[in-house]
Every structure is written in C-alpha cells, then in structure tokens.
Assembly symmetry: C2
Homo-oligomer: 337 residues x 2
DNA sequence: CTTTGAACCACAATCGATTGCGGTATCGGA
DNA sequence: TCCGATACCGCAATCGATTGTGGTTCAAAG
C-alpha cells in the first residue's frame, strides 16, 4: 500500500502549519486564511495528490459521511430502485450508503444496527418499518437520526417517504369495478406493516363506497409462496370464487398466478388480478401484470433528502412525504365473464 | 447524540490503564494480560455498554473493515444475489460492504473508486471488469487489493470468481441440437466483456464440434432494448430465419421475446430461445425461459473470500475460481417445427 | 541472598485530521 | 510616535483507539 500524502506533507511543501492547510482546504474556513496562501496550499496539495484521510477527519469531527440503509432483502426487486434513489441523492453530497439485509429478522436487524452505530454512521434509512419495530423507537430515544422509506413504523416519529397506498388501491378497485367485477378479494400483506394496513383499510372503505362486499384475506408474508398458498385456500373452499383479486404486492400477485394455473384457471378469463408496485419485468409475466406503479426511485431519493436535512440542519419534523402512484393497466385484468 | 463510553471510561471503572483495556478486549492480545484482569475489564465494559469506536481504531490500524463493491447497475437483477453473497461472507467477519453503481460509465467509476480509496476501504470487488478496464490496472499498480466477480478484466492479475460460461453455452447448444435445431444464432453481449467473449468463442467452437453453422451477432448492450433491436434486424433481413437463438443473457433473451411478438412469431413454436443467468422470475416470463443458471450468490461469496484472503493474509494469487453452471429447461425451447 | 526471567501492566507516542486560543505583523487613526 | 483593531497563522490539544518500550513484581534458579 503506497503511503498517501498527509496534511503534514502539504504543510511542509507549502511552508505553513498543518492547521493552516486544513483551513485553506475547507470552504467554510477558507476565509480565515490569506488568499495567496490558499493558492500556495492548493497547488502544493494538487502536486502531492493530497486527499484528506476521511477516517482521521471522522475521528475529529465525529461524523463519517456514511449512512446505514437497512432493508429486508435486496433480492426483492422493489428495493434496488429504492437504493439507487437513495444513492443518487447521497453521492453528490459526499455521503456513502452502507446497505445491509435483515431477511426480515428483528434479531439480525438489531445486530446490524448496532454494528453500524459502532461504525459511527451519521444516520439510518429504514425500509424495515413495522408496528412494534422497537429498533426504530430505540434509535429515536438514543437521539440517532433516521428516516423510514416505503413503510413506516407505527408511532415512531421519524420522517417517512411512502407511496400513496390508498390511492393505488382505490384506482385498482375502480378499474375492476368498471370491468364489471363485484366479487373481489384483497390478499393483504402480513399484519404489522403500514403498507398492509393502509392498503387493506382503503380496500374495505372503498368497497363500501362502491357498494360491493369486498373480502380481505391475510397472507403470511409478502412472497410468491405466501400468495400461492393463500390463493389455494381461497380457491379450494366451498362457495362461489371471486372474479378478481387485488394483491397486496406483485409477489403475492405472482403467487396468485401460480395458484390459478395449478387449478386450471386462466387469468384474466377466469379471474382478474392486479398487483402493487410494478416491480421490474411485471410487464413480462404471463400474463403481463396490471399493477400500481410506485415511484421507488423517488421514494429513495426523498428519504435521503429527509435524512440529510436532519443530519446537516437538525431539522426533525415528523414529516410524512406521500408520493403519488399510478395504475398501469396490462393484461391480467379483463371484463368479468 | 448521547455520548458513548470510551476506552478511558472502561479503564477508569476497571482501575487499569486504557492500553490494558485494549489488550484485554482483543482476542489477539488477550493473552498478554492477567485472566483475572481480563474479567474485570470485560465486566466493566459490559456494564458501560462499551463498544470500540471503529473510526478511532481505523485511524490507528489504518484499516476500515470496509470493502467497496463496484457494480454497473443494482437494478440489473443478477447483481442483488451477488451482493447478498458478498455480504454473507463479509458480515460474519466484521466487514461492511459499500456498494456503488457506475451505470456503465468509466468516468463515474473512477470518481467512485477514488472516493472509496479516500474512505480507506480495505479492498474492492469489481463487477465492472472489461478489456481496457484501466481502473483495475491502476488499482493493481497502486497496490490496492481487489478481486473481480462475474466478469474479469483482461490482463489484470486480480483473482476472479466467475461462472463456467463455456459449459453453459455447450449445454445450451446440445439441448438445442437434441431438439433438432441446426440453424442457430448467438446474440453475443457487447465486446470487451469477458463473458461476451468466452460465450461467443465457446459457441463457435461447439458449433464446429456439432458440425452446424452457427452465427454470432453482437449486441450493443446487455439490455432488453438491445436484444429486441438486434433480433429485429435478424428477422427482417432476407433469407431463412434461425430456428433458435442462444442469447448472451436473460435480458437479451427477453428482448428476443419482444421482437418475436412484434413480428407475429411464437416462442418456442416458431423459434426457440435460451437465455443465460436464470435471473429471478425467469420462470414467470411468457413463456417460462429456458436458461443457464449461474450461481450468483456463491460467486459473490467466493469473491469475498478471495478478497479477505488477500487483505488478511496478503495472499494474492492470480486465482480464477470457476463455478459450475446448470441448464434449466423450461418452455422457451421446443422441437424444431 | 542475589540473579534471572517471565508475567503483567503503565506510560506515552502515534494515526491524520480539526479547531480554540493566542501571538505577531500590519495598518490606520489619533 | 503610539495604540488598538484586524488579519493571518502557528501552537497544541483533541478525537479514541492501538502498540512499542520499559518498569515493577514475584517466583524460581543459582
């Protein structure tokens, strides 16, 4: 490892004290040193290829220009766009993101969280919010800066950037209504997630508005397997089957596809399904999926903005930024038979 | 921000010198201090909830327990599993991964690279290798530790963890041969990538073995759009059309799907297509895609292992770890009409 | 009873930056 | 000529850990 130039080397070359070099090189303190000296220091720094050691700086300033991003599972396709959005806002400001996966385990999350705190990250972006999310609450009490993205933690007053779940469900329902569907079930995500709750609530309230009896069935997870298993149950019980299902997200919807297929049913001819998120390649599924597009990239960018505000200006408003969503109609929904 | 306990606090409480605390708390140096004292220090540390400040430690030891992971684009679905694999190996060892996206831009990559060097990362994992990849060469000359994953940089003697591209192509071709296909084109990825080159080379050599005239057509990028555009060209030129296409990766194969559809052709009835990578949800496409499964998670883990070996034991063998791949036959391939 | 050596631990330097404080030089005004 | 204000910059402390060096204690060996 070739040793890099330090501030002392620059000082020596420029013939000034290290402290002066530090001041000359920082915008905020540049005014405290003679412009001519600044020039001399600048060129000495360039000549040596000097770049400040951010570890040393971090030790002194107790900031690491790093934020921790805690997500359940990077291989869930909605998260990469969120991470990209976060990065797009953070990188130009000189921050780096350390992203970690919890696999949905609170215990893993706690470990990761502590390890990032120990690393002196300047703040957190949680994509793991849920009711009873003690880690966020703890973070808040310890005075740690954080924001929630996509989902929020019930009762923890961190800012959050989320999609307009209610609007998305409303649009889905109206779309189905216009197609003639009256017997509709909502495959709700697991309880405890704000997304599950809001989507389910707005499903029932909008069904009331439309005057149809909507049924909500809970799933065990936001996964293809859970979607399939739950749909299996619905199809195998006695009584008439629904003509359409509003899935809590695209993964569940995909599970519904699988279930329909194994039961010899066709989509949308026999039952229509609409997803949520418009994850990548949703339009390439069999059939191309009608779903609600959530602006994940922007959600990430917005969350990063909220966090930086908090870090740099100590602005901690219990802000909730809600971004609009859009129904993308493809081929998994059709007129009722 | 509530001030955390420092090593001095622990020292005070345990009635020893901070240096002793440091030794008592580190496995490597624990033997240098009286077991009884170790116990005293340990309990004092626990009582205060002491965790070492890794920034301070990093300054002294000039290591950050952080590695930079440089990938083209996290939203390309093959990368999340790689990142997970990297993380799975790194996290238990106490390392964190900082992953950044270059969007395929060498200039962006250079900026990101320098910013990570400045952050004192202990090493790099490049998923951006290509011929003329000057950044890797530069890193090598500067004595920076790094490994390549998925692809390698021609001529840069960093270790690499890659899939067995040749085997994958061979299996694809044999599968198609057995189905009766004799007129096959290979949609090769953009030149400069080792994956493109190896896959194309093994395509022509295996065609020679089988005694069929294989054609390879290059694409501009590993993307759906490039795949569609290139396939459009192939379908619209005069002469007989191929009965099967071996795509350089799943994204290209998906582009082929689109092209076939817009030309009123059906897959696999009119033309069979096989992809490469078996990206998530490849089995849910229309039709479910026959493709070569590459062990991305394991590739990531292997790359991390290679890097840690280098960092901790200075083992820099120009090692090339090649992991086996497996053909997954689904519904996009069928007997020739 | 002295010497030797091992075991244990304290001291202080060190990593590379930032920053409060104080000293010097310069200049204008009285 | 002297004083005070201002601008500039150096000094040294500091962040919180790690680690080389050396001193003390104690037991075993001579």
């Amino acid at each position: 490892m070739s040793s890099r130039a330090t501030i002392a080397d620059v000082a020596r070359l420029a013939g000034v004290h290290p402290g002066t070099v530090s001041r000359a090189l920082n915008r905020k303190t540049e005014s405290q040193v003679n412009p001519e000296t600044v020039g001399r220091v600048r060129s000495a720094a360039k000549q040596l290829g000097y770049t400040p050691n951010s570890i040393a700086r971090g030790l002194r300033t107790s900031s690491s220009m790093t934020v921790g991003v805690i997500i359940p599972d990077l291989t869930n396709p909605i998260f990469p766009p969120i991470v990209r959005g976060i990065d797009s806002h953070l990188a130009p400001l000189g921050y780096s993101a350390v992203v970690v996966n919890t696999d949905g385990s609170d215990q893993a999350e706690r470990l990761l969280f502590e390890s990032l705190v120990q690393r002196q990250v300047d703040g957190f972006i949680f994509a793991t919010g849920h009711s009873g999310h003690s880690i966020a609450g703890e973070a808040y009490e310890r005075g740690i800066r954080a924001v929630m993205v996509n989902r929020d933690s019930r009762g923890v007053p961190f800012p959050a950037a989320v999609g307009d779940d209610a609007q998305g469900i409303r649009e889905s329902l109206h779309h189905l209504w216009n197609l003639g569907h009256r017997r509709i079930v909502h495959l709700a995500g697991p309880p405890g997630f704000s997304t599950s709750q809001i989507r389910a609530e707005s499903f029932v309230s909008e069904c009331a508005v439309l005057g149809i009896q909507g049924e909500v069935v809970q799933t065990a997870a936001y996964s293809v397997e859970a979607g399939q298993a739950t749909m299996d149950l619905i199809l195998e019980r006695p009584g008439p089957r629904p003509s359409a299902v509003v899935a809590g997200n695209d993964l569940l919807a995909l599970g519904v596809y699988h279930s329909l297929r194994t039961h010899g049913l066709r989509c949308p001819d026999d039952v229509s399904v609409v997803g949520f998120n418009d994850m990548p390649f949703a339009g390439d599924f069999q059939p191309p999926m009608t779903t609600v597009r959530a602006p994940h990239f922007e959600l990430g960018a917005e969350a990063a903005r909220l966090l930086v505000n908090q870090i740099e200006h100590s602005i901690l408003t219990a802000l909730r930024v809600v971004l609009p969503v859009e129904l993308i109609v493809r081929a998994s929904t059709g007129p009722v038979a």
